[in-house]
Point group: C5
Chain length 298, copies 5
Amino acid sequence: MNKINIPLDIPLAKRSLYERRINALTKNTGRLFIFAGDQRVEHLNDDFFGPEIPLDDADPEHLFRIASSSRIGAFATQLGLIAKYGSSYSKVPYLVKLNSKSNLVKDEDPYSAAWYDVRQVAQFAKNSKLNILGVGYTVYVGSTFETAMVHEAAQIVYQAHQEGLPVLLWMYPRGKAIQNKADAHLIAGAVNVGVALGADFIKVNKPDDLSPHSYLEIIKAGGNCTGILFAGGAASNLDDLLNTIYTQVHRFGATGAALGRNIHQHSLKEAIALANAVAAIIYDGQAPEAARRLLLKN
Amino acid sequence: MNKINIPLDIPLAKRSLYERRINALTKNTGRLFIFAGDQRVEHLNDDFFGPEIPLDDADPEHLFRIASSSRIGAFATQLGLIAKYGSSYSKVPYLVKLNSKSNLVKDEDPYSAAWYDVRQVAQFAKNSKLNILGVGYTVYVGSTFETAMVHEAAQIVYQAHQEGLPVLLWMYPRGKAIQNKADAHLIAGAVNVGVALGADFIKVNKPDDLSPHSYLEIIKAGGNCTGILFAGGAASNLDDLLNTIYTQVHRFGATGAALGRNIHQHSLKEAIALANAVAAIIYDGQAPEAARRLLLKN
Amino acid sequence: MNKINIPLDIPLAKRSLYERRINALTKNTGRLFIFAGDQRVEHLNDDFFGPEIPLDDADPEHLFRIASSSRIGAFATQLGLIAKYGSSYSKVPYLVKLNSKSNLVKDEDPYSAAWYDVRQVAQFAKNSKLNILGVGYTVYVGSTFETAMVHEAAQIVYQAHQEGLPVLLWMYPRGKAIQNKADAHLIAGAVNVGVALGADFIKVNKPDDLSPHSYLEIIKAGGNCTGILFAGGAASNLDDLLNTIYTQVHRFGATGAALGRNIHQHSLKEAIALANAVAAIIYDGQAPEAARRLLLKN
Amino acid sequence: MNKINIPLDIPLAKRSLYERRINALTKNTGRLFIFAGDQRVEHLNDDFFGPEIPLDDADPEHLFRIASSSRIGAFATQLGLIAKYGSSYSKVPYLVKLNSKSNLVKDEDPYSAAWYDVRQVAQFAKNSKLNILGVGYTVYVGSTFETAMVHEAAQIVYQAHQEGLPVLLWMYPRGKAIQNKADAHLIAGAVNVGVALGADFIKVNKPDDLSPHSYLEIIKAGGNCTGILFAGGAASNLDDLLNTIYTQVHRFGATGAALGRNIHQHSLKEAIALANAVAAIIYDGQAPEAARRLLLKN
Amino acid sequence: MNKINIPLDIPLAKRSLYERRINALTKNTGRLFIFAGDQRVEHLNDDFFGPEIPLDDADPEHLFRIASSSRIGAFATQLGLIAKYGSSYSKVPYLVKLNSKSNLVKDEDPYSAAWYDVRQVAQFAKNSKLNILGVGYTVYVGSTFETAMVHEAAQIVYQAHQEGLPVLLWMYPRGKAIQNKADAHLIAGAVNVGVALGADFIKVNKPDDLSPHSYLEIIKAGGNCTGILFAGGAASNLDDLLNTIYTQVHRFGATGAALGRNIHQHSLKEAIALANAVAAIIYDGQAPEAARRLLLKN
């Protein structure tokens, strides 16, 4: 994504609002760092309580404490949490994740409907005076419920754009028809669907083949008007994490990253420092080593 | 739950109404005792008529008679019953349980839709002039119908908050994917979902492992803005019941309890005395022995 | 059901209308006799044409001829029939049966949606100037479609009450989960569901165990604000029929009966006489022998 | 059907319009001849192109050419076709067939939803100024989708009557539960359902047993206010066809016939002559031999 | 399709708009060339990235670059793409393809719902000021979801015509009931369904039997008021492609062609030249050899 492109389904009266929100998300760089905090539903308590996880993470407020002290583009989480904690964390930039499901049912093709319609989010943004910068929605491409989900995604993009709200789509190949959900060609196909849906940003998982050729296919599929974010995935080695993000963004042309566990499964102080190191890479273009040093200073 | 926290999805004009209702439910203590009377649907007549159950309980009015003479936070039951008996029991604090299903179908994943939308409950509250303090809804986390239910729960919370109505969610892991519905880690996960949905109070069943570590995980997951209530479950020994409630609330930090069978499967006089003993523990912080003595005096 | 109890979901402006309709149905006695004429859908032509059935019954107008000359509380049938024959039978008290299904599909759990919404019935009542005294709906408790049906029933009660219309629910345990649909404990459970739905009257089938204990459980479950009607069932011996109705109503405290085949499978003259004999038992409290004599006089 | 009976679900303001339409359909005789032209969907191209079918029939306009030159009560076909050809055939009396499905899926119980709602048909009638005399809908009685279809049929009748539009229901027993769809007793049951739905006319297939007793049961079930039409079925011998129609209508009391293939699978000239011969039998009461002679003259 | 026929479901006020759009699509010839660009969803990235495909095609903008420099009737693609790229390609004639699905799920009967309703497309056309000439929708005839799709198609045609928008239906036999989706008789049947739905244009695949008799049946089924377009299908030899299009249109009477892969799987310059060669055949009636020479000159 090279330029701010205002889609034509945004009404004239909402174009500058949309542009301001894009600029806030990207800190005027065209790049984006999302702090993903929707996993209390997606992964239930697996990511938040356990022998290797600091007790800080057991409390839902931990995510808000991190978000309020880090240089993130937006904190993506459910509206119910934002409503409950928003009055204490009113400066955080939020992205409302519209759908979420638990990981309990494993042998059926996945489906997850939006919990709210966009009109309700817009009403909430207005009434709460919170800094809501966008909405998000996951599409399971290849699920037997794909039709329902692409329909809902299309409606969300259309209606969010009517409200001047940018949209981030999680485009995930899932279901019995999917043999390898990390196949680069398939991920590029999922990007195609997200682009056709009019997403402003698309979050995908890393391909299993980390070659430049794989990244080329995926990022090319995003075209010039849609930003590609890569997920952090299961907690990884710190050096690997910073190097990977740098390479994805500054070598292959990705728009940014969306990280959850890699950040919040630390004590508050460490989590904030780590989030700021990632921000330095994505927004300031710092090299991984510089970001690493920044982190150690904290 | 330590403080009254007014969620930001409650419109300005409804904030003091919401606060008054929370204060009425909690009797200004931050704690809550629900008298659960929705089982005439959930358990059909099994809990209400039988050799060991006093004949008083066969009549639906028994529940109202108890509710009207006890110091409960609210009597949770179906709107149809409230509409029929409300004119004779107009001082009872009610919580409208929005969904209920019978226990007959056992080999399919459970689903239960709301019988009314929140707007109808608000209209009913206004027209009937009854003291409706909130609404309730059960979510079966892990059911193949989880998606439909979390969607409906999210809408109920959003719309109830628009009306200044607090929401109690029954968060129950159920369905073929659930191996142990009393697993503390799983219950904490169900709490996570309820918190993300924006519930004001969450009712869960007791974990099978009654260790402090289990309670810690579950109650931590509730965070600072959402109250956790434990169900009474199948009728238990009186001393155990009072001790358990005391421990859950005053040692582990639970917000309260929701009891049904343990109360109503007694003659009217005993049921009222028992409800008041529980109220003394929850609201007044009396020790179980003191509550027990109170009970014997009746 | 001992008294006229005006449910609180009936708006103030409709309370006297509701009361008038209840009084018309019960002829100011608190008791009710329904002439059930919805079986042309439920049983197709099995009940209406055959070697043992008088040819009168082959014509849909037979039901209207009976209804217009008998002292019934209401004739329950489909709106389409009422619309077609109503101009010739404008004095009949009608109860619009909202859902009906044929008996052809036998190996799936039953479901039957309302054909009309209550608003349409109210509009029809107003435009047609017919004497519509209530609406009816069947719930199959224990069917895998129970959730859809209790939702629809709750909405019908709520909306009918908004229009000042009493509601009769047919509460029938059905589906693969049901081992004995005539079990008294199960029927009492079905009554519980109907009471929680806010029904004014509930029609159930007779239990297989006709003991006072069975009737006690079923009728107690109805409580003080909801009337229990028993179905006549397959055509039975005349003496048995009259004795059973007398016993159910005047010994066990049932509110009345709903009869179909037992009435209409006779020539017009006999059918009218029989309906009037039943009315004499239910409304006037006549003994079966007296009603029998009344019948022979015709 | 002996008299024009204006159903009471027709608003006062639409009663004369309804009556005019009934009179137009029946040419003031109380009898009805429908030219059924919905099979281009139902039978795809099987009835319209093949070695034994004149090439005229391959073009959809063939049906309009026949309809515009014959003395039919109405030409029943889909709204899309009427919209396309209506400006060239503006004098034809139309009946909009609301639902249609192809014959490709054979091993599932059938279901076919209405393509339009009645309000759209009424809007189309008004805007197009075409002579729309009614609407039609097929119900598959005994299908596992029966519930959805009877609900939709009831709504169509109710709403069509609100617009002063007569309704013809195709009542067809279909699905795995049906052992013999041509059983007279079952067809009479399907008629019962159509009558309860408030249909003005009901189209059924001929029973396999063509005895007077079978026709008696079926036609009696229609009662005095609903007309029974028999389908022509697979193309049959001309003499048989004319004799059968005469007997059904003038001996057994059927209201008329609905013919498709028997008419359109001829060259235009023959088709028109044949339609007019059928009209002479139905509307003028001519004997089959006289109609036959009329046909030969053309 | 021989003449501009304005369907009667187009309101008077929109007739000239509809006519202008038809004239723009057909360049006043009654013939139509669609550049089909919806496959980034339908075929994911298979058609766009691979060893035999120029890298140009990996970028979604490639399709817009071709469309903006070729003499096409319309570029058919998803609204999201049009919204994103429309401001840079504001002169392109667009046809909004309303439904699309990926090719991942292979063992279930296909279903694909419209992503937007027609009202939204009309609103988008107005707000964006783009040159939207029509809408498109795929129907899978013979799928177990056929009923849902023909209902949706009927609604789309009706509502598009209300807005003065022409409709192109992709009529594709698909699903387990289909033995040979390229059977000419079956394709003609699918055309029948599209004509009954009121489509202005119908896109079908080529029959496997390319005889004049096959084309006769298919094109006759379209009648005089509905245009038949043939798909290009998998990339074919250039001479074959041009010859086939010429024969279909100028020998058999087809209305035109809809091509995707055959065009876009070339470098930009070649793709534009090829599109213009096809336009010369379809719109100008040039012979394939002349079109071929035109192509070589580029």
